[in-house]
C-alpha cells in the first residue's frame, strides 16, 4: 500500500508541472484505435442495422475482435481477441459490474438492452486498460443520453416479432430535453419460447423472458457544470440454458450512478468527470424443470459493487492527456445447497464463492501526442492495487482443505504500459503498438470451490496462490481507403505469461455427480494468441455497397497445444442496396472447419457452416412522426449448424423471419 501511495505521488508530481503550463492553440485531434459500434442515437435505434431490435450480443458480434460463447438463446458471453470474461473488461459507461453466476451465465452484457445504449467501444489489448486491468481488451457500453436542447418531448415505440422462438419484443423510449435539463427513459420487454435449430429440431430449454427499464437525467446548473443520475433495472426470469444442466429462475441487476461533469474554463483542462456508482446483481440457478437431475441443487449468487472514477482530459501543446483515478469494491458470494434424495438427511451446503471482497484502486495516465496533421503517438500507463479478502469463515476453512497455509487476504500490484504510433494519410493509414499488462485471477480462478464446468465436465477448484497473469502484446494495422474502396487489416499478438488454466488432479474426487474429475487452477508458463481481421468495403454503385470480412485466430500454449475457443477462419460478406427510403441487404456468413481444437478443454472438431441472411427496411415519414420498418430472414436455407463457440455443440437457430417496427413521434 505504501509503495502504491509513493507511486501515486510520483505520478502526480509529473502531472502537476504539466498542468501549470499554458494551453496551446493546437486543435489537431489525436487518432485512436478504438472500434465503435453504433447501437442507437437518442430514441432511435440504429436503422443501419439489419435487425435494429436484436440483442446487444448481436451488435457486438459485428466486430472482428468479438465472438460469443453461446449456452442458449440468451446471455451470450463475449470473447474479445479469443479471450473470455476473466481476461477482458466489460464496463457500462466506465462502471465495473461483475456477474453473480459462478458458471458465467450472466455476462454484464446481459444486464443491458439495446435501447439503453448509444454505442459500444471496443479496444484491443492494453488500449482498453483505462477502466481496469485487462489482457484481451475492453468493451465499454455507452449509455444513451439526449444532452441539452430545446426539442421537448420525444417518444419512440419499438416492437418486434420473430417466428423462430416466437419472440415478442416491446419497448418504449420517452425523452424530454430542455436547455438545462433532460430525462431519458426506456423500457424493453422480450419474451421468447424455445427456438428451432435447422430442420425444425426444437432446442429444449432455450426460452427466456426479460424486461429492462432505465432512466437517465441530467441537469446543468451552470453552463459548464452538469450533474447526471442514471439507473438501469434489468430482470430476467425463466431463462433456459440448453447447453447447461441448469437453467436460471432469476437474473436481476440494479445499476445506478451519479456523475458530475465540469468543463473548466482553464487553459489546460478540457473536461473533468467524476462518477460514483453502485450496482447489485442477484442470480439464481434452477434445475427444477429438468427431467433428470441426480441431486436437486440451489445455486444462488450475489455480486455487489461500489465504485468511483474521476477523469481529467486536457490539452497542452500537442499533448492530449487523460488522467483517471478509479476504484471499486466488490463483494462476490455464491453458495450451493444440495437436497439428498433421503429427505431425513441434512442438506448439503457449501460456499462456491466464499464472500470474496475485492478492493481495486488504480491510476491511469494517457498521453496522445500529435506529431503533425497525420501522425501521432499514444502512451498509456497505469498502476493498480488489487486486494482480495475471503470474508466468510466457512468459505475460508473450506479452501484451507486444499491450501492449509492460505491466508484470508492477498494483495497484488498490477501494471500496464502501452505505446502506439499512428499514421493516417490521405489513402494509407497504419499503426504499430507495443504493450504490457497484468491481471489478477478472477474470483473463480482464485477462490472457486467445486465449480462444475459442463464443457470439459470437470469440477474446478480455485487457487489463491496463483501469480498475476501478464501479457506482452504487439499490434499493427494497415488501411487503405479511397472514396469508393476501403480495406483494413488489423492484427494483434499476445504472449501471455502465467496463463491460468485448470489442470486435472487425479487424486481428487469430483463433487458433481457424473463429472470426469477435478481440475485445480494453475498456470502454464505461457500461451500465445494471434488474431487478425481483414475488412473490405466497396461502393459498387452510388446505392450499392459490398462489404466483406475475414477473421483468423490462432492460440497455442507452451507445449504447442491448442487453446480453447479459438475461432477457425470465419468470414462474412454482404451486399447493401438502398434507394430513397428503402434499404435492403443480403449476406452470407460462415466458418471454416474448426481443426485447431483441444479435447483437454472439452472441445471437438466443429464442421464448417455457412448461412444466408436477407433483410429489407423502409422508413416512412408522416409529419413529424417517423416509422421504421425492418423485416428479414435469417438462415434462409434452414441450415443445421453449430459453431466453435457453441457450448457443448448446441445447434444454432434455424430459419427465422423477423420484423422490427419503430415508431417515433
Amino acid at each position: 500500500m505504501k509503495k502504491l501511495l509513493i507511486l501515486i505521488f510520483f505520478f502526480f508530481h509529473i502531472a502537476i508541472p504539466l498542468l501549470a503550463q499554458e494551453k496551446a492553440v493546437d486543435t489537431l485531434a489525436p487518432k485512436t484505435l478504438t472500434e465503435v459500434i453504433v447501437i442507437g442515437k437518442k430514441t432511435q435505434l440504429s436503422q443501419k442495422q439489419a435487425k435494429p431490435l436484436t440483442t446487444v450480443d448481436d451488435y457486438l458480434q459485428q466486430s472482428g475482435k468479438v465472438d460469443m460463447v453461446k449456452r442458449g438463446g440468451y446471455a451470450w458471453e463475449p470473447l474479445l481477441n479469443s479471450m473470455a470474461t476473466e481476461r477482458t473488461l466489460v464496463t457500462i459507461d466506465g462502471m465495473r459490474v461483475f456477474g453473480a453466476c459462478t458458471d458465467k451465465m450472466d455476462p454484464i452484457t446481459s444486464y443491458v438492452e439495446v435501447s439503453n445504449l448509444s454505442e459500444a467501444t471496443i479496444e484491443s489489448g492494453q488500449q482498453g486498460s483505462c477502466h481496469g486491468a485487462t489482457i484481451g481488451g475492453a468493451i465499454d457500453l455507452k449509455r444513451n443520453r439526449s444532452g441539452f436542447s430545446d426539442s421537448g418531448w420525444e417518444a419512440t415505440l419499438n416492437s418486434g416479432y420473430e417466428t423462430n422462438s416466437n419472440q415478442k419484443i416491446l419497448g418504449t423510449a420517452i425523452n424530454y430535453t430542455a436547455s438545462k435539463f433532460y430525462i431519458d427513459t426506456d423500457f424493453m420487454f422480450r419474451d421468447a419460447g424455445n427456438y428451432d435449430a435447422g430442420n425444425h429440431e426444437e432446442v429444449l430449454f432455450s426460452q427466456f423472458r426479460k424486461f429492462n427499464i432505465s432512466g437517465t437525467s441530467g441537469f446543468s446548473f451552470k453552463e459548464n457544470k452538469l450533474i447526471e443520475a442514471s439507473v438501469i433495472y434489468d430482470k430476467a426470469t425463466d431463462v433456459g440454458y440448453p447447453a447447461l444442466p441448469m437453467d436460471v429462475s432469476l437474473a436481476e441487476a440494479l445499476i445506478t450512478s451519479l456523475k458530475y461533469e465540469y468543463a473548466p474554463k482553464l487553459p489546460l483542462l478540457e473536461k473533468w468527470e467524476t462518477k460514483i456508482y453502485y450496482n447489485t446483481v442477484t442470480h439464481k440457478m434452477d434445475d427444477t424443470k429438468r427431467p433428470f437431475v441426480p441431486v436437486h441443487m440451489d445455486m444462488p449468487g450475489w455480486s455487489d459493487t461500489y465504485g468511483f472514477y474521476s477523469k481529467v482530459n486536457g490539452v497542452y501543446n500537442a499533448h492530449h492527456f487523460t488522467a483517471d483515478l478509479n476504484s471499486f469494491y466488490n463483494r462476490s458470494i455464491a453458495s450451493m445447497t444440495m437436497y439428498p434424495s433421503d429427505p431425513s438427511e441434512n442438506l448439503m451446503f457449501m460456499y462456491t464463492w466464499p464472500d470474496v471482497r475485492t478492493l481495486y484502486n488504480a491510476l491511469f495516465l494517457e498521453d496522445n501526442y500529435v506529431l503533425n496533421c497525420h501522425s501521432s503517438f499514444k502512451f498509456t500507463a497505469s498502476i493498480a492495487n488489487h486486494f482480495n479478502k475471503v470474508s466468510n469463515e466457512l468459505g475460508l476453512e473450506s479452501l484451507q482443505i486444499f491450501y492449509p497455509d492460505m491466508k484470508d487476504s492477498k494483495n497484488r500490484i498490477l501494471k500496464s504500459f502501452s505505446a502506439a504510433y499512428l499514421v493516417d494519410k490521405s489513402y494509407f493509414s497504419y499503426s504499430l503498438g507495443l504493450a504490457y499488462g497484468d491481471r489478477a485471477p478472477s474470483v473463480s480462478e482464485g477462490y472457486g470451490f467445486y465449480l462444475f464446468n459442463s464443457f470439459d465436465r470437470y469440477d474446478y477448484i480455485g487457487n489463491p496462490e496463483l501469480k498475476n497473469e501478464s501479457s506482452l502484446e504487439g499490434n499493427a494495422s494497415i488501411g487503405f481507403a479511397t472514396e469508393k474502396f476501403s480495406a483494413k487489416l488489423m492484427s494483434s499478438y499476445f504472449h501471455i505469461s502465467n496463463y491460468i488454466v485448470g489442470k486435472p488432479d487425479d487424486s481428487l474426487i469430483p463433487m458433481t455427480i457424473g463429472a470426469s474429475g477435478v481440475k485445480i487452477y494453475t498456470a502454464l508458463d505461457y500461451a500465445t494468441i494471434f488474431n487478425t481481421d481483414f475488412s473490405l468495403e466497396y461502393q459498387l454503385m452510388s446505392n450499392l455497397k459490398w462489404t466483406g470480412k475475414l477473421v483468423y485466430s490462432y492460440g497455442k500454449d507452451n507445449h504447442q497445444d491448442n487453446l480453447p475457443f479459438i475461432s477457425p477462419l470465419r468470414y462474412a460478406s454482404s451486399v447493401q442496396y438502398h434507394i430513397n427510403k428503402f434499404t435492403s441487404e443480403i449476406g452470407v456468413q460462415g466458418n471454416a472447419v474448426q481443426s485447431q481444437y483441444n479435447p483437454f478443454y472439452g472441445e471437438d472438431r466443429t464442421p464448417s457452416y455457412a448461412i444466408l441472411n436477407a433483410s429489407a427496411g423502409y422508413s416512412f415519414v408522416l409529419d413529424k412522426s417517423k416509422l421504421g420498418l425492418k423485416a428479414g430472414v435469417e438462415n434462409i436455407l434452414d441450415t443445421y449448424y453449430s459453431t466453435f463457440s457453441d457450448w457443448n455443440n448446441i445447434p444454432r437457430k434455424g430459419r427465422n423471419f423477423f420484423m422490427n417496427l419503430s415508431f417515433g413521434f
Binding site: V295, M348, M350
Partner: protein, 281 residues
C-alpha cells in the same frame, strides 16, 4: 500453532506490563464445568457423585467428568483416588468396555475426568451400570448406579475381529462439532483382552476415507491417516469435509507392519468399507 504461541507470548507480555502496576490482582475464577451438563447423580450414605458430560452420554466414546460432594458439609472433595467399572448386563453374560483412568482436571482439584467407550447400547432387557470406587484419606468408598446409554443416531463406535483374530474396538472421539474444513480428528483404538479387560493398542495406523453416499460417493481431499500420539495414546489425524450433510468415514485398520487387519479401500465396485463411522452436521 506458531501463531498461537506468538499470541500467548503477546498476552503474557501484556499481562506482565499491565499486571505489574497493581499488586492485589486476584486470579480470575475459571468455571471448570463450562460447557458441561450434569447427567447423573449417584448417592451413597456419605457422598453424592455428580457425573457431567459435554454431549449426552450415548453409545460410543464419552468424556465424563465427575465431582464428589460430601453429603454432610456440602463441600467437594479434593485428592480422591478414583477408579470405575462400567458393566453391561446382558441376558447370559456380563462384560465391561474400554475406559481410561480417572485423573484430576482443572485447578481446584475437585473435578475428575476420564473416558468410557460404550461399544454397545442398552435395550429393553440389557443395561449398563457404573461402579465407582474411591478412597479419601485412606478410607475406601463405593457407589454404583445404572446409567442410560442409548444407541447413537449415527455410528460412532465399531467393534470387529481383525485378520489376526483379535477383537478390536474403534471409537470416534473428536471433532465434537465437525466443520466444513480440515478437522483435527481423534479416535480411540482398543483391543479386547477379556470380557472385563480392554487395553489401548499401540503403534497401529487408521486410514480414513470420508465419503458422501448421497452425492455419488463424493470424497474429500488431503485427509491425514491417524497415528498414535505419545501424550494421550489416542490416534490423531486430519479429516476434511467439503460440505455439510451426511458423511460416512470409511476406515481401514493397519497394524505396525502396515498390514490391513480390517476394512477395505474404496473403489468403484467397493462403495463402502466394512468398518466406518458416520457424521451428520
Amino acid at each position: 500453532m506458531k501463531f498461537q504461541i506468538k499470541n500467548i507470548i503477546a498476552i503474557i507480555c501484556i499481562a506482565l506490563t499491565f499486571g505489574s502496576c497493581s499488586s492485589d490482582d486476584t486470579a480470575p475464577t475459571v468455571n471448570e464445568l463450562e460447557g458441561l451438563t450434569k447427567f447423573k447423580e449417584i448417592t451413597n450414605t456419605n457422598h453424592t457423585i455428580e457425573l457431567y458430560s459435554h454431549q449426552p452420554v450415548q453409545q460410543g466414546y464419552n468424556e465424563i467428568s465427575l465431582k464428589i460432594k460430601d453429603n454432610a458439609s456440602g463441600k467437594y472433595i479434593q485428592n480422591a483416588a478414583i477408579s470405575w467399572l462400567p458393566l453391561m448386563h446382558m441376558k447370559m453374560i456380563t462384560h465391561s468396555c474400554p475406559k481410561s483412568a480417572i485423573e484430576t482436571a482443572g485447578t481446584s482439584g475437585t473435578v475428575y475426568k476420564g473416558t468410557i467407550v460404550f461399544q454397545m447400547a442398552q435395550n429393553a432387557t440389557e443395561y449398563w451400570d457404573l461402579k465407582i470406587d474411591y478412597s479419601i484419606n485412606g478410607t475406601a468408598y463405593t457407589a454404583t448406579s445404572i446409567i442410560d446409554v442409548p444407541a447413537s443416531a449415527k455410528q460412532r463406535v465399531t467393534s470387529f475381529t481383525g485378520t489376526d483374530n483379535v477383537k478390536y474396538i474403534l471409537a470416534y472421539a473428536e471433532p465434537h462439532h465437525p466443520k466444513v474444513a480440515l478437522n483435527e480428528m481423534t479416535v480411540g483404538l482398543y483391543k479386547m483382552e477379556s470380557m472385563m479387560d480392554f487395553s489401548v493398542v499401540d503403534n497401529f495406523k487408521i486410514k480414513i476415507d470420508p465419503r458422501m453416499p448421497s452425492m455419488g460417493n463424493h470424497g474429500s481431499p488431503n485427509n491425514v491417516d491417524l497415528t498414535q500420539a505419545a501424550a494421550d495414546k489416542l490416534y490423531h489425524g486430519k479429516m476434511s469435509l467439503t460440505m455439510t450433510g451426511y458423511w460416512k468415514i470409511n476406515l481401514q485398520l493397519l497394524n505396525a507392519n502396515n498390514e490391513v487387519l480390517k476394512g477395505e479401500a474404496i473403489t468403484e465396485s467397493v462403495p463402502a468399507s466394512s468398518i466406518y463411522f458416520e457424521l451428520e452436521f
